[in-house]
């Protein structure tokens, strides 16, 4: 018994040593995890900034001194004078070269009630220029309107006359539609992380070892194939677990920096939520590694193993989407690995009371299938077919 444990320990330690020493493969394995905050940041940068934020725009003014109120208004909209530009942005905005010309007659024309023509020059074909141009347009129109309103008001006109029809938008989507989208993406990402992180280790320790002629040697040793499979499973799924844990930790940190409420969405990943998700994903890590080992051991070469296993990655990516499409989900889906987990994850993200029974059930099924895969694999490694494929 003791030597049994010692044997297994030795097998496992060796798997770990190999996995952790292959720095490049490890980086690739954990790429998903490190991409998570980047993804979240990019999402916030692109989506939120586009939707809400008003990044500074630098404009080359001529005649700014004739229109201090207009300049103040533009400044409030973060449309700034090129003269005040920080050094680091200078080159970009010099290149974009947005120019506004304010005529000398500005103040006299204003007093006389004449239309003042302010000229905006820019390369309108340049994509980078169009959002600033749109904002300048809006800002100047607002400014112009507010003065226009006051002019009419001071002439005794009811300024509400200027808005004969007002369109009030009423969004009928559920308040959390954006949220569902985001949480689905996150859930998908986490399941993908479980599958991706252990991938390279799983292939390397199975198909890779066979190609390097070390597997045969191992099979000739007085050690049961079950232990070999379990050691390799543990090795690969440990990396998967680390990957998932990293995704969770890094996501929860980076999500804190992103104000999704700006786009009316919400997403938070506290400690309890993170822990629940982790527990939920744990069996998935083992399941993913078992699938990968199963396929990789049966592939004829390392290359083939890589391509077959990569195809399997499509499954976790596919399942949540299919679930979304299905209006009428059969009950058994709740139990199926990945499907079950992604349904529960939805609840976790929503902050709905988690059904621990469901977690236990789907985890149980997942673990059972994993165990089945291990058992089959154990037998397969004993079979002559595998041995004959060795050389």
């Amino acid at each position: 018994m003791n030597s049994n444990i010692g044997q297994f320990k030795a097998l496992l330690i060796k798997e770990y040593k190999e996995a952790f020493r292959d720095k490049r493969a490890l980086m690739v394995a954990l790429m998903m995890a490190f991409m998570a905050p980047i993804m979240i940041m990019v999402m916030s940068k692109v989506v939120i900034e586009k939707a809400v934020d008003k990044p500074p725009v630098y404009i080359k003014f001529t005649g700014a001194e004739y229109a201090p109120k207009l300049m103040a208004h533009l400044k409030k909209e973060n449309l700034l004078d090129f003269a005040d530009i920080p050094e680091k942005d200078k080159a970009i905005w010099d290149e974009r070269n947005i120019v506004i010309n304010i005529p000398e007659s500005y103040s006299q024309d204003m007093a006389d009630g004449k239309t003042i023509k302010v000229h905006l020059q820019a390369d309108f074909n340049d994509k980078a220029v169009s959002p600033p141009v749109r904002r300048i347009n809006n800002a100047i129109r607002d400014f112009s309107l507010s003065i226009g309103y006051k002019r009419l008001l001071l002439r005794g006109v009811d300024i509400r006359l200027l808005n004969p029809v007002k369109l009030v938008e009423q969004d009928t989507s559920m308040p959390d539609a954006t949220f569902i989208m985001i949480s689905m993406m996150m859930g998908l990402y986490m399941i993908m992380a479980a599958f991706m992180s252990g991938l390279s280790v799983a292939i390397d320790s199975s198909a890779g070892e066979r190609e390097r002629n070390v597997l045969e040697m191992l099979l000739c040793q007085p050690v049961s194939t079950l232990k070999i499979v379990l050691a390799k499973l543990c090795g690969a799924s440990t990396i998967a677990v680390i990957g998932v844990a990293l995704v969770l930790v890094l996501s929860s940190i980076s999500v804190g920096f992103v104000d999704l409420t700006k786009i009316g969405a919400t997403f938070s990943l506290g400690f309890t939520k993170g822990l629940t998700l982790f527990l939920l994903l744990l069996p998935i890590c083992f399941f993913a590694s078992a699938c990968q080992l199963f396929l990789a051991f049966q592939a004829k070469s390392f290359k083939e193993a890589q391509s077959t296993v990569s195809m399997v990655i499509a499954i976790p990516a596919f399942v949540p989407f299919v679930l979304m499409m299905m209006d009428d989900r059969p009950q058994w889906l709740d139990w199926v690995p990945i499907a079950g987990q992604s349904l529960i994850m939805e609840d976790v993200f929503k902050g709905v009371e988690v059904n621990w029974l469901a977690i236990l059930a789907t985890s149980g099924v997942t673990i059972a299938i994993t165990a089945g895969l291990v058992a089959i694999l154990t037998q397969k490694l004993k079979s002559e077919k595998v041995v004959m494929a060795l050389s």
Binding site: L154, G156, S268
Partner: protein, 480 residues
Amino acid sequence: MKIMWKQLMAASLLAVVNNSWADNQALTVEDCHLGEIRSKVKCGTLQVPENYANNSGDKISVNFAVLPAIDNSEYKAPLMFLAGGPGQAAVELATSLNRVFREIRKTRDIILVDQRGTGQSSALECDLEDEEDVYRVLPEDLNIEDVKSCVSQFKGDVSQFNTENAIRDFDAIRVALGHEKINIYGGSYGTRAGLVYLRMFPESLESAVLDSVGPIEVPIGMFGQSGARSFNLLLDNCKNSESCHKVFPNLAEEFQAVKARLAKEPITLDIQHPRLGTPTQFVLDDTKFTGNLRFQLYGVEGRSMVPLVIHQAYLGNYQPLIGLIARTEGEQLVYTGLLFNIVCNEDIPKVSAKMREIDAANDFDGAASHLAWELICPLFPQYRPSEDFYQPVTASVPTLILSGDLDPVTPPSNGDFPAKTLSNSKHIIVKNASHTVAMSTCASNIIGEFLTSKDPKSLDESCLEDVPEETFMTSVNGVE
């Protein structure tokens, strides 16, 4: 003819200007669209006893709305908004409150309750026979019979439509929605309501914000001195502004001249109705003139036009004034029935002749702000709150008190009363703001910080220093 109500209002309202359930069946909540808010929110009603001393008696339905927190992943006690007036319907203000409190709404529900007697909560209303023509009527034209007939149309026991019962309603809604504690923001008369809430149910409150305070110690309705103070600050600010002083060097004198001219004889002008474009008459006397100017003093935007309006009136051009009146023409700002019901019964009886005299001794509008109470209060049914109601409110609930220095109705001195009696409070006076500071300045962000920290004494108030000094329009075409 429904004269006056509006005209009087302009001179007197204390409004926010800007633009485990005990009984499950009593509560209904459903998704709804409200005002101009794009996303869905919740609307609901709660059945409450009309008279809390008689639970089995008549019920009234109290209308409320919840602007749900955008990020509800972590429960934070909601913020209940207590409307001003008295007589503003909170739910009707949803659009602008959704904007003002957007930072707070990110993590907290905002609860809006139509105070009983307003909005959809058994509003004290009556059928108006005619649209009142704000251009033609004068404040003094009030038809007593119309008011009487209107009061007689009120349904229910009007004496139950008092501040204390309103607070009982609010707290019942808190319970019905399942909140152990809430935060309250009261603006203007809402601060009075908030103080009563603090006295009646301190254990229900996590914190309170009182913005532009109407303390128990100061009866609502005496606005002569505070209006004059606000107006004089405007005159000073104009004098100190180079461009304003250059264009209007004799503003104070011109104001007095116009007032005297109109007091001597009201003017009548044939004008195009600003909205309808049909011929009508514009009638103006001194009370209507100062009343409408007073209304502009509530916010910096209105204030920016006051010097120009006075100067043009002095030159005989009343169009700017007509344009200002047109801004709110035909809009119901407050439910006047509830306004008079509460002020006439809870505040005016506490005003002594001496107080009246002192308040009237001002060079802005004299006793004009008292007119509405004098004419209308005798027509309203009477009730009297208990003496407890008038005791200074003491509570240890963290309280943030805000005042705008330019305020024409609730001057900063008002805020000093609760600052003294509430043990855990801080009074912040914003120099360049007028009535209800949070509606127009970054004070709404400070409130957000306060709701989180619950420590009124260690807030970052620095952004208030950036509130710009008031500026004035100097030409009917706009300048520069």
